[in-house]
């Protein structure tokens, strides 16, 4: 792999935003394909996700890595668009009403961007109505709901129920610490993932199947 791409992956893993920005600029100036820069970013973030799951790093380290990735994306996104690599799929994402915890949601969001999804982030404490309005406005391929608290699991259920009445039907994926595959099935979600990397795989699979 090219040296600046190696440096980019290393910078993301370490959460060094200045290094990430410099390595991205160097890679783009050297004329490397923007897709290869995106792949280097994703590789770094995947590693962060794996170490987080294994409890070798903690939330603050994940957040600084996500920030470093965002710095790189700021430079990369215009180049991706200019070179015709436009997002093929789009996703509306948010934490459910009553839940203000967005670390997991933000991590999934960064990974989706890394996989070249267009992400419409509705933020935290999002009502069923706000999700429905965003679906009507952006016509995404998927909606992703996140919840951290067992207190907000009923809100996730009622949002899925409301969104399931939308025509044409929209696919919904769910995740968050207290969510289980059984709960996802029971509330009528189209998919569940336990971590950010598998959320991307799930989103890709559901979007590809819909085509």
């Amino acid at each position: 792999m090219n040296e600046s791409l190696n440096q980019l992956t290393t910078a993301i893993k370490a959460g060094k935003r200045k290094d990430a920005r410099a390595a991205t600029a160097a890679a783009l100036e050297a004329g490397l394909p923007p897709q290869s820069v995106l792949d280097a970013l994703t590789e770094g973030m995947n590693d962060v996700g794996v170490r987080f799951k294994a409890n070798t790093i903690f939330v603050p380290e994940v957040l600084v890595a996500a920030r470093a990735m965002q710095k790189s994306m700021d430079l990369l996104e215009p180049v991706l668009i200019a070179s015709g690599i436009e997002p093929e799929f789009s996703i509306v994402i948010g934490t459910v009403e009553g839940d203000l915890h967005d670390i997991g949601k933000n991590l999934v969001m960064m990974m989706l961007k890394g996989a070249n999804f267009k992400v419409i982030d509705l933020g935290v404490n999002v009502s069923a109505e706000a999700f429905a309005n965003a679906v009507a406005e952006h016509k995404p391929d998927l909606v992703a709901l996140s919840a951290l608290l067992t207190t907000t699991m009923p809100a996730m259920e009622s949002i899925v129920c409301d969104l399931s009445r939308i025509e044409p039907p929209i696919k919904i994926i769910v995740g968050g610490a207290p969510i289980t595959p059984d709960f996802a099935d029971q509330i009528g979600a189209d998919g569940y993932s336990a971590d950010a990397a598998s959320a991307v795989e799930l989103a890709q699979k559901l979007c590809a199947n819909a085509q």
Binding site: N55, P60, D99, L149, T150, T151
Partner: protein, 241 residues
């Protein structure tokens, strides 16, 4: 189970103040074991720690029942089971529901302000709550890990604070009249620029657990060989292991 049932109490360390007060000089439990607070951060880890502690307690032939001073705790209690003894636990989201006397007041407070962060004497003792001590602790941990990188340490301290960025209220729940912990919570609120709120706790749920008033509406009984589970209505139930 009779009023003389000999039980062991397996409790989160966060309840130490309340249980010490309610237990008094002749506590109603035969044995008590505390597990460290905060295990719910990794629900799988909480589950295995609770499971291992139940196995240790069940070895004691004098123990007839194991009480769990735990709620769902991020679903960390799901799947927990015992081989010989019935398990009994409150129907609660977590320690906060238990200190407030049930899930209904807990849900109501969060509905009113989802940005509520709960403090209790145990959480204050653990210094895990948002506030100046937590910041100092995070700085110390990361300064040791990145001794030559002050910028990275600053970034990590800032990132930790960011995890509470959407919160706006430090709500103190106390069943033991702990003035020092209440003052500490007020200081944290001031430091963070949050509103302070004192919540009226309700000791009934914890006291009834200790006093064997285990009615089915407020407590789940899990027979030996069954596991803690959730049904389709997200209610705690037991199911065959």
């Amino acid at each position: 189970m009779s009023q003389n049932t000999k039980y062991a109490l397996l409790a989160c360390d966060v309840f130490k103040e309340e249980l010490t007060t309610f237990g008094g000089e002749t506590p109603p439990w035969h044995r008590i074991e505390y597990l460290e607070m905060g295990l719910h951060d990794q629900p799988d880890n909480l589950r295995s720690e609770v499971q291992a502690a139940i196995a240790r307690l069940e070895v004691d032939p004098a123990i007839e029942t194991v009480l769990l001073a735990y709620g769902l705790c991020g679903n960390g209690l799901l799947g927990v089971h015992a081989i010989r003894c019935p398990l009994i636990l409150p129907r609660a989201h977590d320690c906060i529901s238990i200190l407030l006397g049930g899930t209904a007041p807990h849900n109501e407070i969060l509905k009113e302000n989802p940005g509520t962060y709960f403090y209790s004497p145990g959480w204050v003792r653990g210094k895990r709550v948002p506030g100046p001590d937590r910041e100092a602790h995070i700085r110390e941990v990361y300064s040791a890990r990145y001794p030559d990188d002050d910028e990275m340490v600053d970034d990590l301290v800032e990132a930790d604070a960011e995890t509470f960025a959407h919160h706006s209220c430090a709500a103190y729940v106390d069943l033991t009249q702990n003035a020092d912990a209440e003052t500490y919570c007020k200081d944290c609120a001031k430091h963070l620029g949050w509103q302070f709120r004192r919540l009226q706790g309700d000791a009934t749920m914890l006291q009834d657990l200790l006093n064997r008033n285990w009615d089915d509406t407020r407590y789940l009984t899990v027979p030996p060989g069954h596991s803690i589970a959730l049904n389709n209505q997200s209610e705690l139930v037991s199911e065959p292991s």
